[in-house]
Amino acid sequence: MSALGRVVRAGVGRRRVQTAVLVLTTLMSVTASVLAAGLLVAARAPFDHAFARQHGAHLTAQFDGTKVTAAQLTATARTSGVTATAGPFRTLSVRPRTASGSDALPAGVDLPPMTVAGRADASGRVDGLSLVSGTWATRPGQIVLAYGKVPMEPGGRLTFPDAPGSPTLTVVGVARSVTGTADAWVTPAQAGALTTPNSPSAYEMLYRFRHAGTDSQLAADRAAIRATVPKGALTGSYSYLAVKRQETANAMAFVPFLAAFGVLGLLLSVLVIGIVVSGAVGAATRRIGILKSLGFTPAQVVRAYVGQALIPAGVGCVLGLGLGNLLAVPVLGEVGTAFGGPAASIPVWVNAVVPAAALVLVAAAALVPALRAGRLRTVAAITVGRTPGVGRGRLVRRLTGRLPVPRAVSLGLANPCARPARSATTAAAVAFGAAAVTFGVGLALTLGAVQSGRMLNSAGQVVVEAGGGQGPAGAQVVHAGGESDIPKADPAKVAAVLRAQRGTGRFYGTAQAEAVASGITGTTTVVAYQGESSWGAPQLVSGRWLYGPGQAVVTTRFLKAAGLRVGDTVTLTERGRRTSVRIVGEAFFTEGEGMALLTPTSTLAALGLDAKPGQYHVQTKPGTALAPYLTSLNTALGPVGAVARANTSNASEVIATMDALVGTLTLMLVVVAGLGVLNTVVLDTRDRVHDLGVLKALGMAPRQTVTMVLTSVAGIGLLAGVAAVPAGVALHRLVTPLMGDAVGMTLPASDIAVYHAPQLALLALGGLLIAATGAFLPAGWAARSDTATALRSE
């Protein structure tokens, strides 16, 4: 090993605390950065690849066949900005029933309504379908299912009881459309044969545009198409961006806060590395002098100190890469396989670029103090042997000496002024830590609020199941084939029992059905409310809650997917019946992928669907014991045919993962900040070891020594904490809406405004806590240091 290598290795081994600080600092920042950059790229890549491979449709548009002809739709291909089209394809909403059994589905099961498109072939200039199994439908009597929609393999059979002649079609293939343009495909002739006289005549057109990178560009493209067809002909549309957001939502929601932690981590790394290397240079002036006297050139000294920072940083990078990739596995697990590719993973180039960038930053941070070491004059370095006193802060020391506090406290309070630059960097490290805590606590509070508000059925302490097989929103509901739905309990009787039950506060009922909503691909879960339900309504982002018939409340994601806004109208279709609802409110909930439509039960009645509630949400009066209430209520509900249970809403695994990541990264940042303080106090203690010896010789007790050292960082910690809290709050306000945007949702203001005065006051003390914790160990060392030896260290 070269002389330089030996010096570097000795330096790394000798300063174990500093080495540990450097490893942990880079580990934390690389972990967060790899995760953030990796997720940003990896989560989108499978969709982007599939979209490019299949020439996915930028826009899938639905048209009312009574207002526009196929020829007119074909002519829209000449609209300005359109580069390719597919269609028009006749579309219809049908309710199939299984005619053959499979492992997943027995024969005779009524399936939810599905959108079937009449399409001659799988290929095309737009939305080239990839066959997962089987072949394409080439003649009547055949059907191709969309992958993941119905658990049925080629060879299976489906009957369409509502179609003329109740035809039975054979599944000949399973295909994948990257933007989900239909639930199933048949030949155009078969599509015509499935159409009933009552079926609304509808067409689907698939477009690709020259400019389709943003929502606004797609809105302009949609407007151009709308302008070329008769008024009211375009009944709905959805963009590939909406699909992409939906498919990558969970992973993308991680990116904003991981990026924030990554940036915080990198900045803190630069700061702490600067502190560590600067301290190493300051503490080793004599050593540098000896090295130079032995023939080391200034460049070799610089390389030695940069090397001493790069070695532990390299270890931290390797560990951070491993941890980042490991943590990405659960987040990226589902992305990729959804588009027929392998499970997504963090790209190799991210794994190369992030640690390389981190090492460059480390080298840059270390270079400044290393250059100082290189410039030191050999004679001066050997003569001085230790950092000379600078004599700063005398006035402050004099003033604090007059304070009516114990002398150990006043001595500690004045210490930061003796080395203002070092104190400033300590304050910055503490501020980063305190800001991270503020940010992390805010994120946890926001995620908690999202967790509790995201489920529609979380309202009330008690849920009454009134039969009818109602499942959670978004679930695929099947009913026994040929039989009528399980009869639901009479709403009037259930309501009467609930009202008569002692302890009942208020309640409302919900019914659930599937229907086709204009502008939304496939079927939409319709959750219908009966009774005064505002107390159990999801959090509203804009508009208001349902207050009359013909109204609907949907999420931001639904609005974006359908290209709608509050005040617009959505047309719901089911078995040939249509009704329109006006969107009166924009709400936040993630149940059913956030794509459910909330409306009064009268809407279901208008569609000819069962509007009887299948569930009742009951809020008990304050002080009501739940167990006896349930026992008594179930006794009364028995004859009515309903059953009550405690309401236990389930927790989201995604949010739980986010919480765990936020907690881990916050802790890591705090630990790094604390280690930064520890390192500074160690340096300070070493610099002042002689003074400490004098004070102890004069009778300073160990407790007083600890008090003095802790006080020396307490003021800095408190000030840094107070300054960091607004920064942490601002970061939270910046990042949380971005997390909402990433999943196509607008978070309610109440979920973002999570900080309150008592919490802020406590968080402000976080800086003090970080500083005191970081200084505690060196304070103990200072108290235990050998006085006689210290006095000799002249």
Partner: protein, 240 residues
């Protein structure tokens, strides 16, 4: 305490560091109140070790040390600090003043660490600075004073808590001749006023002019010691 009771009673004290020869080997020494004992010896003879043990800065490997009726050889760090505050004042070769505190603040430190009321501490410091003729430098920083003046400040600081015992480690070792004479006179004057002093020095002149008894250490053992001068009636700590 009776007039004949020793202020310092060192019995069979040995101090070893690691595997090497003992720094002190079976030292026994008594110092009575009002005595000024000079400990002489070449470098490495164990003089400073002896002083550190008496000051409670170090612990003997064997033997006992009693100062003013209190065993000090087994004190905890906290008790040791209390002991130094109450009973010991120390003067060092290189003064060991805190450069970023004024003279007055340096002198006040021991009283402040001991929790003496502020007004009383200030009054005591003022009287000490006047007595030692450095009151005009009260607001100056040590770096601006001559060596002799700095050592006077160090003596003032050492006397601040009215210790039973003043320990001086080569107090003239870093001073020029004039300043050394000045400090020599001061120590003699303090002893004349009843202050018990242990003095570690190479300076035979200092020992002769200040000490009432000398002890010579070689390789950690007392090889020579003059007879004690006997009890000094009414000896007490200096209280200017």
């Amino acid at each position: 305490m009776t007039a004949t009771a020793p202020v310092i009673d060192i019995r069979d004290v040995t101090r070893t560091y690691g595997e090497g020869p003992p720094a002190l080997a079976g030292v026994t020494l008594s110092v009575r109140a009002g005595e000024a004992v000079a400990v002489l010896g070449p470098s490495g003879s164990g003089k400073s070790t002896l002083l550190n043990l008496v000051a409670g800065l170090d612990r003997p490997s064997a033997g006992s040390i009693t100062v003013d009726g209190q065993r000090v050889d087994g004190l905890s760090e906290a008790r040791s600090a209390e002991y130094r505050r109450a009973k010991v004042g120390m003067v060092f070769q290189f003064f060991n003043l805190l450069d970023d505190l004024t003279v007055a603040d340096n002198v006040l430190l021991p009283a402040q660490l001991a929790g003496l009321p502020r007004a009383e501490a200030r009054e005591r410091a003022t009287r000490l600075l006047e007595y030692l003729r450095i009151d005009r430098h009260a607001d100056a920083y040590p770096g601006r004073l001559s060596g002799g003046e700095r050592q006077r400040v160090a003596v003032a600081r050492a006397l601040m808590n009215r210790p039973a015992l003043l320990l001086a480690d080569e107090p003239t070792g870093a001073l020029d001749t004039a300043s050394g004479d000045d400090v020599r006179e001061l120590l003699a004057e303090l002893n004349a006023r009843g202050q018990t002093i242990i003095l570690v020095t190479h300076d035979l002149g200092l020992a002769e002019s200040c000490a009432t008894r000398t002890v010579e250490l070689v390789d950690g053992r007392i090889v020579r010691g003059t007879a004690g001068i006997g009890d000094i009636e009414g000896a007490a700590a200096v209280s200017p």
